[in-house]
Amino acid sequence: MSSFVLEASGLVKSFGQTHALAGVDLRVRTGESLAIMGASGSGKTTLLHCLAGIVAPDTGTVAFQSGAGRVEVTALGERERSRLRREAFGFVFQQGLLIPELTAVENVALALMLNGMPRARAEEYGGGWLAALGLAGMEDRRIGQLSGGQAQRVAIARAQVTGAAVVFADEPTGALDSATSAEVMRALLDSTTGQGRTLVVVTHDADVAGRCSRIVDMRDGRIVGERVPAGASAEAGA
């Protein structure tokens, strides 16, 4: 079995006249934390969306390797890609984008309920994840009653609760102060690579990227460099 959980090859994606991706090849190793860095408009979010099957590239392929076998993500229809995202991937966005009217535990449990788990069990699991992320006692709070860092940890719990093989995070600390940002990043890493899962982070924050095991730099829709942050394990690499 390949040790790469994701393999992208020759990804090209344009939006009208804008070339977001201009031929990207990338392999993501199982259990690593990969940071994708670059200026605004460099194509890093589009790359994350292609890897996660959120958008289909114009050309190129993305393959996902799991215990169940190899899946050609780019060959799947919209419905199958939706299902793959729901069952195999987790997502953390900059704003959390949690459902404001649901409580913290309901937001987390919803991810399991969508996969058919009964609500009581889903909330039990969800509560466990919240507690593991330091949010015990806050299960019944509405999202508006949580701080930015707490809300982001609810989003991390939601991304993890389904046992996602890969968690994709798009500027997960973008709206947080530096202390909270470090705290959220620690929670994100502990709950992903700390458990043998894979984390792909899009960020423009060098501190966030520095906590990952590998960094790729993007410019004008291409990967222009790759490095291993100081202190990170040098064994990660494509």
Binding site: H49, I54, R83, R85, L110, P118, R119, R142, Q145
Partner: protein
Amino acid sequence: MIGRVAWLLARPGTGGLAPLALPATAFAIVTALLLTVLGGAQSFWSWTDDMGVTYQALAVVALVLLVVPLSSLGGAAARLSARRRDDRLATLRLLGATPATVSALAVLESVVLAVVGAVAGVVLYFLLVPLIALIPFRGEPLGLDGVLLGLPALVGVVGGVALLAAASAVLGLRQVVISPLGVRTRQDAPKLHWLRIVVGLAVIAVAFGMMAVLQVAGSAMVILAMLGAAFGGTIAVLNLIGPWVIRLVARSQARRAKTPQRLLAARAVLESPKAAWRQVSGVAMTSFMAVFAGTGIALLGSFGEAADTESMLLFADIRTGILITVVGSFLMVACSVGVNQAASILDRADLSRSLGMLGMPTATMEAARRRSVMSPLRITAIGSAVTAAVVMLPLTGITIIVAPLSLAVIAAVLAAGIGVVWLGLVATKPMLERSASV
């Protein structure tokens, strides 16, 4: 300075022109319907004979039935216009704009949208006038002269709509002014006091009492005033009790919800029972009217064929009046559902898109949205019909209310009202699909 900032805020944002067009369209429909109703009533007031008073009494009932929900729809349009911008205005508060500046901006923008919409509504009214003039009452068409309103009435209605928009903008944005963070982070938990139900039941009891003594009331004017107050009061009370009952039911549904769509729907209703009520309050009106129409038609039928020509003409006219009022009410319901749903989808576009990214099927989102409207709708339709039956009881008696013809008309009108809401949901489904697409 305020003018310049207002102009900047008026530029289309990521939602395109819809945030501006939606409330303006709603104001246009409200104005056109209001003018149409007033035009029809005006023609009744030109009759000075004995039968004229009967027609005027019926016109008062129809006016109350239509004007109260019209103003509620107008309020919804005004709130929508204010809400579309409250995020940006709250941001201005965070940036240090004074409460006075924020209030002035909110009022200015809402009034401009209301006036633009109202003027379009006047044009729509002029297009409708020839059709309304053809409607026969007392054996002949109402005629253009009868239904065409004068300039003072037109200016008055446009001014009234603008005033309504201004008042709603001030009230709606009070929260932004008091606590900008309250709106930006949506922390406020909805509060609805149980006292609503007490006040509501008291008003219904008073309305019941008024209907019971209507027969012995003195002059025609007193009867007119009592009829108007009883019907108007009951409809207003539905607005008071409705959100409270909807919240009660939604709380229980949220506790028992087993599927994502049921949980999302119940929580969406709980987030703002008032908003959930506003979406379907037109149906409260339709249910109310269903009982009114059903019993009215059955009552007319019970008078038999022995009636003289003049009475037969009156009965035919009452049927026409009921039909017009029901159709008008449906138009308001359709408008209300369409506007509210479109606004709600626009409001939640970012969230819908992110849920789509997470892999939530659009069908689940759509099912939750449908349930969050249809569940309050069921409560509203049944509750309002029962309330109307209670108020009508002293006037018509239980025999008329449960007569097969009454029940048939009530069922048909309710089915049509629910159908209109359903159509409003179906019509906005493509919008949800677009906003959830990733």
